[in-house]
């Protein structure tokens, strides 16, 4: 049975708060005009009225439906406009779209998460979800890398997470400044410090393409099976509906078949890291 909803029309959402996470990254707290639910790892198309829209995976808990947080790095035309918005502005939301993280498959396992830069946004949403089901998990380790200490986002949240039983946080920066006392180097060096029972573990990777590429390589070297590495792919998801063609990655529409894929699903597709 086909429904009569206009798939292109966005839902209005009021911007209630803007949190400065780093010089280039802000979190936008949005209250949609009606309840909005999503599964962790799914994405939305967020629009600035009359300017444009872009795909983002919400960084807030998927268990909350009256409020939504979206963390945005200033990188292009639309995100620059977003960074200039002040509380009170109306934004547009379409979605949620795609296939998120299959958290039920993580039950009884250790979860090793590798994140970089603004790739922490979808991961934070996943972490909220994992905390809620932590009794079903063995352990969660977050390895997070950023360029400098100043670029590390969600600092208060990291502190909270470090106090949470079963959760461990390791961080690195490419270049240390000030009183940084954690690791220095690319994020994959953190994997050398991780003690993990690979046979009872899954890995999640989210970050810039180059980090995803080398992160996946390292996880494979560590012995992770290809089907236990979950990647959140970044492509030009324009319509979110599996129609416009911009995010085609071989036979997959990243917007509809992803954005979360296991490495074995997509390893043979062309240009997955571009």
């Amino acid at each position: 049975m086909l429904n009569n909803k206009n798939i292109y029309k966005p839902l209005r959402a009021k911007l209630t708060k803007v949190i400065e996470e780093s010089p280039l990254i802000k979190t936008f707290v949005l209250v949609p005009e009606k309840e909005f639910s999503f599964k962790t790892g799914q994405f939305i198309e967020l629009s600035v009225d009359g300017v444009g829209e872009a795909p983002f995976t919400p960084s807030s808990s998927p268990l909350i439906s009256d409020k939504l947080e979206v963390t945005v790095m200033k990188t292009g035309y639309v995100t620059e406009y977003m960074h200039n918005l002040a509380p009170g502005a109306l934004m547009g939301i379409r979605g949620p779209y795609g296939r998120g993280y299959p958290v039920e498959k993580f039950f009884g396992k250790e979860v090793l998460i590798l994140g970089g830069g603004c790739g922490f946004a979808p991961i934070r949403s996943l972490l909220y979800n994992l905390i809620a089901i932590s009794d079903k998990l063995r352990k969660v380790t977050l390895c997070y890398g950023s360029k400098t200490p100043e670029d590390c986002i969600y600092k208060p949240y990291i502190n909270e997470l470090r106090q949470t039983p079963k959760f461990e946080v390791l961080r690195s920066v490419d270049k240390a400044e000030g009183n940084w006392n954690e690791r220095v180097g690319v994020v994959t060096i953190l994997l050398d410090d991780v003690k993990v029972d690979i046979e009872n573990s899954v890995a999640v990777v989210c970050g810039p393409p180059v980090m995803m590429k080398f992160g996946t390589k390292k996880l494979l070297e560590m012995g992770y099976p290809e089907h236990d590495i979950y990647l959140s792919m970044e492509k030009n998801m324009s319509c979110g509906l599996g129609k416009c063609g911009h995010c085609m990655m071989g036979e997959f529409f990243v917007c509809k078949d992803g954005p979360v894929f296991t490495y074995d699903e997509i390893k043979d597709q062309p240009d997955i890291w571009n």
């Binding site: 049975m1 086909l2 429904n3 009569n4 909803k5 206009n6 798939i7 292109y8 029309k9 966005p10 209005r12 629009s47 600035v48 009225d49 009359g50 300017v51 444009g52 829209e53 872009a54 990188t75 292009g76 035309y77 639309v78 995100t79 547009g92 810039p208 393409p209 970044e234 492509k235 030009n236 324009s238 319509c239 509906l241 599996g242 129609k243 416009c244 063609g245 911009h246 995010c247 085609m248 990655m249 071989g250 036979e251 997959f252 529409f253 509809k256 062309p270 240009d271 571009n274």
Partner: protein, 330 residues
């Protein structure tokens, strides 16, 4: 499937009556060639039957080049599109799979589909680059159109295909069941003649599945060579009956305008961070072939190239995909 027959004058009279309640588009010949036009009473005698093929594909009736997709407007008058070749009707199957998808059906597309009666016309004869038969598509419709109209010996023959076509035939009051075996034989003879011409012209051209394998196996050097005269104009995708990629443009009031886009244009896959899997010309060029012959067949049931040959006619770089396939098959 059955046939009706009607005198051409009576048919044209019936069509004129239909103009009061329907928007009728039909294939006519003008100074630029053969194409669909909105028919007025005085245009009815110029309608072309049985001749391949309108310059523009059928998709444009259902997916306009540019439109505001946030408005809920529905076409006022029901539409009739007359003289659609079977290659375009087959192409509609893929569009239906994409736009009538149960999870995200496009209501504008759906309204137009429901509001439109498609009348096919058998191809008696072929054009230079027609090659539907290479992909197992007949040059005449027996299943996916609502009905077919043929002009033979001053008579009009209606082949009723769907229930919608059956209902339509009741509006053509003077149409009678066709029981003249000579006319049926004549139609079959024309079918065989067109099929023979297609087979002779496209001898050796690989079938759809083989083409997929050839395209998949071709390396970078081959794509660099074949794309050397491509100027990324997107004419091939614009004219293709199955290419429907688009761009959404934001307008004030959270309105969205959907506009035709093409993987052949630079920047089609570029993300804000700068990564662009289709940055290089030969990658964009290859993308279109992979999409049509390898990826779409993996994802959808319907065929993504129906052998209409329009992309060959439209290419300003004089790229002939069939020549590429013939070279690959060597």
């Amino acid at each position: 499937m059955h046939y009706l027959i009607i005198d051409k004058d009576n048919w044209e009279e019936s069509l004129e009556k239909l103009l009061e309640s329907h928007s009728v588009f039909a294939s006519v010949e003008n100074e630029f060639g053969q194409d669909y036009e909105l028919i007025r009473a005085q245009d009815i005698p110029s309608i072309i039957y049985n001749k391949p093929k309108p310059a523009t594909p059928l998709k444009n009736f259902f997916l306009p080049v540019k439109e505001n997709v946030t408005s809920d407007r529905i076409n006022e008058k029901p539409r009739i599109i007359l003289g659609v070749p079977n290659c375009d009707i087959e192409a509609l199957s893929l569009l239906d799979e994409i736009y009538l998808d149960t999870q995200f059906n496009d209501i504008l597309y759906r309204n137009r589909r429901e509001n439109t009666l498609i009348i096919s016309s058998d191809c008696f004869g072929i054009q230079d680059h027609c090659h539907c038969m290479s992909y197992n598509i007949k040059p005449w419709s027996s299943a996916k159109a609502d009905l077919a109209v043929l002009g033979i010996d001053g008579k009009i023959i209606l082949r009723i295909i769907s229930r919608k076509g059956e209902e339509f035939s009741t509006l053509i009051t003077s149409a009678q069941p066709l029981d003249d075996d000579n006319i049926i034989s004549l139609i079959e003879k024309e079918h065989h003649s067109t099929e023979s011409k297609l087979a002779a012209t496209n001898k050796g051209l690989p079938d759809y599945q083989t083409t997929g394998r050839l395209v998949s196996d071709a390396g970078d050097e081959i794509w660099k060579k074949f794309s050397s005269s491509c100027v990324s104009c997107g004419a091939c995708t614009t004219i293709c009956p199955t290419c429907t990629c688009f761009l959404l443009i934001d307008k004030p009031g959270f309105e969205k305008v959907k506009q035709v886009d093409a993987c052949q244009y630079p920047g089609f896959e570029r993300v804000a961070g700068g990564e662009d899997a289709l940055f290089k010309l030969h990658n964009r060029f290859r993308n279109r072939y992979m999409c049509k012959y390898v990826w779409k067949p993996e994802k959808f049931k319907s065929i993504a190239c129906t052998g209409c040959g329009r992309c060959i006619e439209a290419c300003i770089g004089k790229i002939n995909k069939n020549e590429i396939f013939m070279e690959l098959v060597k």
